[in-house]
Symmetry: C2
């Protein structure tokens, strides 16, 4: 995976025009992203944006009590650091590497220069931002109305869509932090999925055995986000 790295493994970079690639690609830096790395945190000025290829990044909010909740997830279909071109420069959320891997990094200034040329990149980034908003909105709805079992299915599928294999390195404790529930709640939900043969997990490794089964059990939230993302991000399959 790390052997054959190519900016085009990120779907946004892959969709740029020839001229934009000529301008942008030379300035991209390949960055290794270890699990748990913090790309940015509230009130910290963002200096770079990240285009993940194999890594997955969680955007999460942490409350005064220490409780947390994931509000969106970004993988090879997206970009981390949208507040740079949106104009805020910082956000009230954290960006944390949820699954180790690689990303291409670009300086914030370079990105802004490209963005305000108003060519393909701008159109892509704005549409991607709308897709991200759909994900956040659906997360809010899911938090309100669905069970931990359903949310775990959703979370697994969202991760799976951004990974090359059907195996993810993730403890139940970490999943609990993402979903904003107790670790025991995840143990129980995961137990149900394992009992029914949909997944298998051993000490921080989860293997998805029956993706179709997960899709049957997941709440509508997953489908809504996927459908809208596909629509917004155009003909090319985004995930």
């Amino acid at each position: 995976m790390s052997l054959e790295n190519d900016p085009c493994h990120n779907h946004l970079l892959a969709a740029l025009s020839e001229e934009e690639r000529k301008r942008v690609f030379p300035d991209l830096e390949l960055i290794e992203m270890p699990l748990g790395d913090t790309l940015y945190s509230p009130d910290h000025l963002i200096k770079h944006v990240y285009f993940p290829t194999t890594a997955i990044v969680s955007l999460l909010h942490v409350m005064e009590s220490g409780a947390s909740a994931e509000i969106a997830v970004v993988g090879k279909e997206g970009i981390v650091g949208i507040s740079l071109f949106m104009g805020g420069e910082t956000t009230s959320s954290w960006a944390v590497v949820q699954s180790a891997g690689y990303a291409y990094r670009l300086s914030g200034q370079r990105l802004k220069n490209e963005f305000f040329r108003a060519e393909t990149l701008q159109r892509l980034l704005l549409r991607y931002t709308q897709a991200l908003m759909t994900q956040m909105a659906q997360t809010a709805v899911c938090n309100r109305h669905h069970t931990v079992d359903q949310q775990l299915c959703r979370w697994l599928l969202l991760s799976l869509d951004r990974l090359p294999s059907n195996e993810l390195t993730m403890t139940q404790e970490l999943i609990a932090n993402m979903l904003g529930v107790r670790r025991e709640g995840v143990t129980e939900a995961a137990g149900h999925l394992q009992r029914d043969g949909l997944i298998r997990y051993v000490r921080g490794k989860i293997t998805v055995l029956d993706r179709k089964g997960l899709e049957q059990r997941v709440c509508e939230c997953y489908r809504v986000v996927k459908k809208e993302t596909d629509r917004l991000m155009g003909g090319h399959p985004t995930l």
Copy 2:
């Protein structure tokens, strides 16, 4: 209120440059917005954007089951229909008038033309969009971690910030739809607030008696959104 209407009652319109106003204001239409009016719904092409002055609009998601949840609220500080300039043209949410009033309407094409001139309006709209994302993210977190009591406080304050008076026309049933909880849950929570002298309500009219009291009881979510909105929308107080 309807006697002295002026586009500048909307904060985004008020913040435009002199030249932009000259171009845009002649094309604004003052629109009366009755309670419950639907401005757009999923998969319906959006033809106009709305700049509320006295009206308040809820962005809400409705699930297959019919259950709903508000994901953000837009008043005189914002604009309804951002998917127009974001590029999606439609959204997966509804925009419903939560509090009757007025808004200025602009054709989608006119807005897009202005947006892509990349002047003040673009900067404003992008930053506003980021503020909206903060609101959505915080709604997700609040749905996960806070009680109905706290969420009702948040909702009341968000509404209050967008209204001219301390009285809102709203049944508990409708609030329940917004918060995505049972009507009885709102009855109970509102009962607590009334018992403690923070509000008074009679059949669809809620009067806020003690705003400070609400602010003391509300969860951090309200403050986070307000602070971030103020930061993003610049020196001028946005609410």
